[in-house]
C-alpha cells in the first residue's frame, strides 16, 4: 500500500490502515521525540518516551490531524514537526510535576537553619562582567544590521550564523541550489562588513 492510499484510509478512519501507519512511522516519531528531548536536555526514561510517542499517535487519530496533510511528499516532515511540538508540550506540562522535587534559588537549601538562599551560593561567570555587556552590545548591533538586509539574505545568514547550518543544509531546507545559498551568504556578509566596518568580523 502506498503512503497516499494509507493516508486516505487513515483519514477515513480505517483501523487496519491506522495500525499499518503506526507500524510504518513509529520509528520516525520516536526518533523525533528522542531528538527533541535531547535538544532540551531532558533525559526521560524509555517508558516516558514511549508514552509521548503513543500520545502523539493518539492525538493524530482522535483529532484526525492527517486531514491537514495535502501532499504525501511532506508526510514525514509533517510528522517530525508534530512530534517536536507535542514533545515540547509534554515537557512543559510535566515541568510542574518535577517542580515539586526541585529547589527554588530563593529558598534556603538547609531547611530549618538560617542560612543564605541557594541563589547566593552559586557563583556566576556571566552576570555583570564587562565581557558579557560588550558581547550583548555587539550582538545587538549585529541583529540590527542583519534586520536591514533583504528577507532571503536574512534567513540564509541566520541559518548559517545562529543555527550553524552549512550551505548544503540551507539549500536542502530552502529547496534552492547550493550556489544560490553561497551567493546570498556572500552578498549578505559583504553588506554587513560594509555597514559594520571592521568592528565585527564575520566568518
Amino acid at each position: 500500500m502506498t503512503d497516499e492510499e494509507l493516508l486516505q484510509k487513515c483519514i477515513d478512519k480505517d483501523r487496519a490502515a491506522w495500525n499499518e501507519f503506526v507500524r510504518r512511522f513509529s520509528s520516525l516519531v520516536t526518533r523525533s521525540v528522542r531528538y527533541k528531548l535531547n535538544r532540551m536536555d531532558r533525559h526521560l526514561s524509555k517508558n516516558e518516551t514511549l508514552d509521548i510517542v503513543q500520545e502523539i499517535f493518539l492525538l493524530i487519530w482522535k483529532k484526525n490531524k492527517l486531514r491537514g496533510v495535502k501532499n504525501t511528499a511532506c508526510l514525514k516532515s509533517w510528522l517530525a514537526i508534530v512530534s517536536i511540538n507535542l514533545s515540547v508540550n509534554y515537557c512543559r506540562r510535566n515541568v510542574f510535576k518535577t517542580a515539586k522535587n526541585t529547589l527554588s534559588l530563593d529558598e534556603n537549601p538547609l531547611a530549618g537553619t538560617s542560612g543564605m538562599p541557594l541563589g547566593f551560593m552559586i557563583p556566576s561567570s556571566k552576570l555583570n562582567t564587562a565581557k558579557t555587556l560588550r558581547s550583548n552590545e555587539l550582538s545587538g548591533i549585529l541583529d540590527k544590521e542583519i534586520s536591514k538586509l533583504g528577507y532571503r539574505q536574512q534567513l540564509v545568514l541566520k541559518l548559517n550564523i545562529y543555527h550553524g547550518k552549512k550551505q548544503k543544509d540551507i539549500a536542502e531546507i530552502m529547496n534552492i541550489p547550493t550556489g544560490t545559498v553561497a551567493t546570498l551568504i556572500r552578498r549578505a556578509k559583504d553588506k554587513l562588513r560594509k555597514n559594520l566596518g571592521n568592528a565585527l568580523e564575520i566568518e
Partner: protein, 138 residues
C-alpha cells in the same frame, strides 16, 4: 505587531518543496524574523535528513536472525582452519548449520512444495507455483 506563525502543514510543505511560490515568499519573510519557526525547521531537517540508526539496527538484527544458520556455518568453517586439531568437528557443525540454513530458506521451502506437488501428480499446482516464482523473479 506579532505575526502569526505558519501552521505545521505549511512548514512541512515548505521544507518538502511543495509550497506554492507566493506562499514560500510569505513563509520566508516570517522565518527571517521568527527564531522559533527557524529552529523548528532546522530540527525537522536534522531529523529527516539523518539516517535512522534504530531502523538500521533493526534491519541488521532482522538480517542476522534470518541468516543465523548461514552466519553460524561460516563461523564454524573459519574456525575449522583456525583450530585445525578440531577441523572435523567444526566442519561437521558447518555442514549441519549450512543444511539447516538451506532448508529454512524461502526458496528451499518453495522447491519442497513444488516437489511434493509434482510427486502427488498435481502438475497444475506445481506449474502455478513455478509461474508465481517467475512472476516474483522478473
Amino acid at each position: 505587531m506579532r505575526r502569526i506563525c505558519p501552521s505545521e502543514e505549511i512548514l512541512s510543505e515548505y521544507i518538502s518543496g511543495v509550497l506554492a511560490e507566493e506562499d514560500r515568499t510569505e513563509v520566508e519573510k516570517h522565518l527571517a524574523g521568527c527564531a522559533a519557526c527557524r529552529e523548528l525547521l532546522v530540527e525537522t531537517h536534522d531529523i529527516i535528513s539523518r539516517p535512522d540508526i534504530h531502523e538500521i539496527k533493526n534491519r541488521i538484527s532482522r538480517w542476522i536472525r534470518k541468516n543465523q544458520w548461514l552466519i553460524g556455518a561460516a563461523a564454524a568453517f573459519t574456525l575449522s582452519f583456525v583450530f585445525s586439531e578440531h577441523f572435523l568437528q567444526f566442519l561437521t557443525a558447518c555442514i549441519i548449520m549450512g543444511a539447516k540454513w538451506a532448508v529454512d530458506a524461502k526458496t528451499a521451502k518453495i522447491l519442497i512444495m513444488i516437489y511434493e506437488a509434482w510427486k502427488c501428480g498435481d502438475r497444475d499446482k506445481a506449474d502455478k507455483i513455478l509461474s508465481r516464482i517467475d512472476g516474483t523473479e522478473h
